[in-house]
Every structure is written in C-alpha cells, then in structure tokens.
Amino acid sequence: MRPDTHHTEPLNMTSLQETLRHHKKRMSLNLKACAGCSLCAESCFLFELNDHDPCYMPSYKVLNSLGRLYRKRGRVTQTQLHDMADLVWHNCVLCGRCYCPFGINIPAMISLARQILREQNIAGVYPHSLGAPVEKEPP
C-alpha cells in the first residue's frame, strides 16, 4: 500500500460519481451476476504465468476495482485508486480472452474501471507481470 502523502492531487468527486451514476445499472448487474466461482481464473494467461496468484484472476480484478468503486459509491482515496490502477493496468493487458460461465463482460468492466481512473488523471503503464520495460544504456 502506498502512503496517501504520495498522491496529493485532489480527486474530482463530481466527475467520478457522475460516471458511476451513468453506468450504475450495467455495473450493478454484472457485479451481482458474479457468483464468485473462480472459473474465470484459467482463462487469464497472466494468472497462469504468475503461479496462480489470485490477484491476476479476472473476477478479482473487477471486484477490487470497479466493484469497490461501486460499493463505496466513489468515496475512495487517491491511494485506493492507485491500487486499482495496478490491478486494471499492471495485472491486465485487456486482451479480452477472459471467460465467464455466466457471460459477464469482464473486459468491458475493466475497460470502464480504466475510464474512471483516466478521468482522475491516473493511468497505468507497462504490465510488470510481463517484465519491466528495458531501459537503454546511455551512450
């Protein structure tokens, strides 16, 4: 967890709650439909690559990003948003290969979480799970 002091930029709560309100029904339905069966896990290649770490499960990523935003009605801190950014950018490449037996549109949910985070000027970078970007040696 990052200390809150690292992120001093205030959140745009109006924009955050407006986006949540706009997509409320879609989020509610998809989050309620998740039975927590974890059958989506193996469909994520990052889950397979990272010794079956639950943090890479598609359902975990959705429930702990968009799900948390929905449950808390947007009342989250900068640190929590940055943790969510780790989940939806670093732990997901949005390849769209995740499979839900109940037909939940997981990539759309992750994409929505990314949209909300971008609106708060938070954006992810290269997925650390695939290795850090190679830094060129100075000549």
Binding site: R26, K32, A35
Partner: protein, 231 residues
C-alpha cells in the same frame, strides 16, 4: 407459549408470507429480465453466412478430431472436471427437488385441486442429500482454495446458507428429526426467504445465466444469440 409462537409463524409462512414471496419473486424476475433487455440491443445483421464453419475445408478428418479435442481440453469440463460435475449435479437437483417433491405436489393439490407431477419420496430424499453434500463442497472450496477465498465476502457465505437452509430443514422434516412443527416452520420460512432474495442477489445468476448464454452473442456461447451488450 412456544407452541403458539411456532404455530403463528407456521400460519404466517404458509399464508401471507408465501404469497408475498411468490409476488416478489415474479416481479423481481420480470424486473431483472427487463433490465437485461435495456442493457442490451438487437444485434446488427451481418453479411456473413448464417453459420461459419470452424474448420477450414483443407482440414483432414484427423485434424478436425484434433480441433474438437483441443476445444474440449480448453473447456471448463477439462480444466475443472470435479467442479463441473458437482455444479451440474447441484443445479439439476436444486431445480428438480423442490418442483417434483411429493409434499409440495400435495400442497398444490390441497390449494387448487390440481396434481403437479412428482417423483418418489426416496428419490427426492437422495436428491436433497446430494444438494447438501454439494453445498458442503462449495463451502469447503470457498474456505480452503486461495483463489475463491480472495473473492469471497460475508454475503457469499450468507447466500450459500440461504440456499442450503430450505433443503437442510426439508431433509430434517422428512426424516422427522427434532420437533416436526418447528422444523417444518423453519423450512417454510427459509424457502420463502430464498424466493424473496433470489432476483436481487447473486443467486439471480439463475435468470442472468439463461438470458446471457442464449440471447447474447459471445465467442464461448452455445447459441449465436440475437442481442449484444450496449456500449
């Protein structure tokens, strides 16, 4: 005093609460289906042929067999065979046992004079026992497997309890364990609670599952589907 309370609860659960639960269930299911329709749109017609062959014409019969085997290997059946069979067994019994129980048929006959189909009591008893064993499997899975633990909350355990309670009490009532009137009252109350929470909680995947799998087009769907999610 205790007997009076139990009888009052029994009368309430068998009368007004049952009607209220049935009404809430019907309204809830209609509301959920309407919601699903509002969140999806009719799929645009494409100029592609109605059925697209998954195999190329150049594939030999052996290659086609390998293709099919690869598909099976990637399915939930091959990845989680135990979970796959337990799930199917659990859901099949969950649907059939309450609808085909002789006791329930007799209640319908007493109320409306019609006799719905029913299965022999020993068979329903086996089905109920199967549901209870499968429920225990799901509980253990949630408690033990790190991947399921990571996405489990109190609500998941409460809902599992809500689903299991009518079957556990029904099983006890059939075997005449404990005080019969108390157990059958608890059975009625638990059944009504399950009907009430069904459309509004995660158990609502009962409605969601069929709609999404059959109506919405998806790469892994069994049907082509005529609808698509709104963007």
């Amino acid at each position: 005093m205790y007997d009076q309370i139990v009888m009052a609860a029994y009368t309430f659960a068998r009368g007004p609460m049952l009607w209220a639960a049935a009404l809430i269930l019907c309204v809830g299911v209609i509301y959920r289906i309407r919601e699903l329709y509002c969140l999806t749109i009719r799929k645009e017609k494409q100029s592609l042929p109605a059925t697209v062959s998954t195999t190329t014409p150049t594939q030999t019969p052996e290659e086609r067999t390998l293709d099919r085997l690869a598909r099976i290997q990637q399915s939930a059946f091959a990845v989680h065979p135990v979970m796959f069979f337990v799930s199917i067994l659990f859901h099949a019994c969950l649907f059939a046992a309450p609808l085909l129980a002789l006791g329930h048929s007799l209640e319908v006959y007493r109320a409306w004079g019609i006799t719905p189909p029913s299965l022999p009591e020993p068979l329903i008893d086996i089905m109920t026992a199967t549901i209870l064993v499968c429920g225990l499997f799901f509980l253990m899975r949630r408690l033990v497997l790190p991947r399921v633990q990571a996405i489990s909350g109190i609500a998941d355990y409460v809902l599992l309890g809500c689903v299991m309670a009518p079957f556990l009490t029904g099983f006890c009532a059939y075997h005449q364990w404990f005080d019969y009137t108390t157990v059958i009252t608890l059975h009625l109350l638990a059944g009504n609670v399950l009907l009430i929470v069904l459309p509004f909680t995660k158990i609502g995947h009962m409605i969601f599952f069929f709609f999404v799998r059959l109506c919405i087009s998806s790469e892994f769907g069994p049907a082509r589907g005529s609808r698509d999610w709104k963007v």
